[in-house]
């Protein structure tokens, strides 16, 4: 059974068309990198899959069920989201943030079970933030915060994890740490993962399937070798690039070719 099937999905915000005829099918256990320039529709695609937005046309099916017709609570037990921006008012401690991931399992008269506590501890161990327990979220570094948000999403015990630029604004050690963690969750936990990525080289190194979007449509879909070619990248991003294999692993790596005259003049003078 497929984890996600999208059939000719169209979506527009009030000010214009954003997604056009998106066809997508994702098998369970896949790990997919979503790439494309700003405004290509990556976040909108994620919002359609997470049920925050409803398709104007076409259908989005999760596990064979219509995403738009599922109850929020049921949906949140299947799909967790790590958003692009995350801020929380008031003085929340790390474990209190992670606890919010248990919301879909809570009911009136039944809002603090032993199982909730176990899952919170487990996910904090998995993500490696147990040592941050008791610290205020607002006092953490960007990398630590991102791990707390990831732990919160994992506390939902989802089958599908959607991440919107999980490595933005992080240093390379935290970028690698987050991606290694996702790869491990994907491998061991059979978690289906879709992550919007800006760093093409990291995307190429960690994702076995890449989806390239441009102007609201999917323009390439496949393994990095097929998606990251100089012609597809040049046309999607309007930037000339050179593609070369990674010296050790052989996956394609993207090298930018500077075009500005200013650059050349500087080196001459």
């Amino acid at each position: 059974m497929n984890a996600i099937v999208m059939n000719r999905v169209c979506f527009s915000y009030s000010n214009g068309l954003v997604l056009r005829d998106v066809e997508l099918s994702v098998r369970k256990g896949e790990m997919i990198g979503l790439i494309g320039p700003n405004g290509a529709g990556k976040t909108t695609l994620i919002r359609l899959i997470s049920g925050i937005l409803n398709a104007r046309q076409g259908e989005v099916k999760l596990d064979g069920l219509h995403a738009g017709k599922l109850k929020r609570n049921a949906l949140a037990r299947e799909v967790a989201v790590v958003p692009q921006q995350f801020n929380i008012p008031f003085a929340y401690r790390v474990e209190e943030v992670v606890m919010l991931g248990r919301t879909p399992f809570m009911k009136p008269f039944h809002d603090s079970s032993a199982r909730d506590r176990d899952v919170i501890m487990q996910t904090m161990d998995v993500v490696g933030i147990r040592r941050l327990e008791g610290r205020y979220f607002s006092e953490l570094s960007g990398g630590e915060r991102q791990k707390v948000v990831l732990a919160m999403a994992l506390a939902q015990e989802p089958k599908l994890l959607l991440l919107d630029e999980p490595t933005a604004h992080l240093d390379i050690s935290h970028q690698v740490e987050i991606l290694e963690l996702l790869a491990r969750m994907n491998e061991e936990g059979r978690l289906t993962i879709i992550a919007a990525m800006h760093d093409l080289n990291l995307a190429s190194a960690y994702f076995r399937r890449l989806i390239l979007m441009k102007e609201g449509a999917i323009v390439a879909d496949g393994p990095p070798e097929r998606v990251l070619t100089s012609s597809t990248i040049a046309s999607a991003y309007s930037v000339p690039v050179h593609i070369q294999p990674h010296p050790l692993t052989g996956v394609p790596q993207v090298v930018v070719l500077p075009t500005g005259n200013g650059h050349r003049q500087e080196t001459v003078s």
Binding site: K71, N87, G101, R117
Partner: protein
Amino acid sequence: MRIFTGPRRHISIILLLLLVLITCVIVATAVGSVSIPFGDVIKICWNKVTAFDFTPTWRAVDETIVLQIRLPRVIGGALVGAALASAGVLFQGLLRNPMADPYIIGTSAGSALGATVAMLLPVSTAFLGFGMVPVLAFAGALSTVFLVYYLARVGGRTPIVSMLLAGFVVSAMLTALMFLMITISDTLHSRFASVYGFLMGGISVSGWGQIAVAGPIILVGIVVGRLWSFRLNAFALGEEGAAHVGVEVERNKALFLALGSVLTAAAVSISGLIGFVGLVVPHALRLVLGPDHRILIPASALAGAAFLVIADLLARSVASPRELPVGIITALIGAPVFLYLLRRSGKEYSL
């Protein structure tokens, strides 16, 4: 392991606050123009609510003072404090804004206009022996919230910022209307003391009738708020974030808005506009207990009740026999406490 001492820690906090509240109630019932020994107050209440009776050693008039005059007023104060403080928690949590108070989306202006209209009317009782003022204050507060909610609604959604703005504008308009009425009406001129009393806030409870109506409304409001408090917690993630963890945002926003507004309206109908309780009590408790609404709602209700019982005691005793508006006391105590907390905890809040 702070939260994981969870349930037991919560129960001990609640028991402690309950003890504080009961003590405040006994003290406030005993103290007054005729002072009655604490022991007698306890025994009189005990005789009233249980089958077992102490042999009366007190004057019959003391019993009447306790049961018919002081206790209704003290319980009324406790209910108002509980309602305002828990409404404050609900609004602050829902709006993700530590500066929110129960009056933020127009309940104060709506109820004040309602009360003013009531004072203008030739009849003073509405139904079942209820005064026109509490009934119209209650109705004014609730209809204002409906109006604000309706005005802020765009395409099936009610964005919080639109609601705050609509609340601000509607409040300004209703307040202007109220002052217009006061200015041009001779009747209101002659009843200015009553209008003023409403605006400054004061517990106006005579007998148990009002409490029998407002009490259940307030208690049910607090209990429902506590039962669904785990969803209020999710609102800290923002509306989209709350949806990600399984909360139907618009439906729950309407629920918490309705709860907070009913609590506020019930409080205002007993007491007029008492400020600062709904702002300071949730603030202080959040600093001590953390932002989890599962403990914050019941704790704020109990602490708000105790705070207002003491404030009302001060209001009727510091300048006795003259009675001060209790709103003056809550502001005089509340404002400095608030400023102290703000300076101490500045870094812990981010909008």
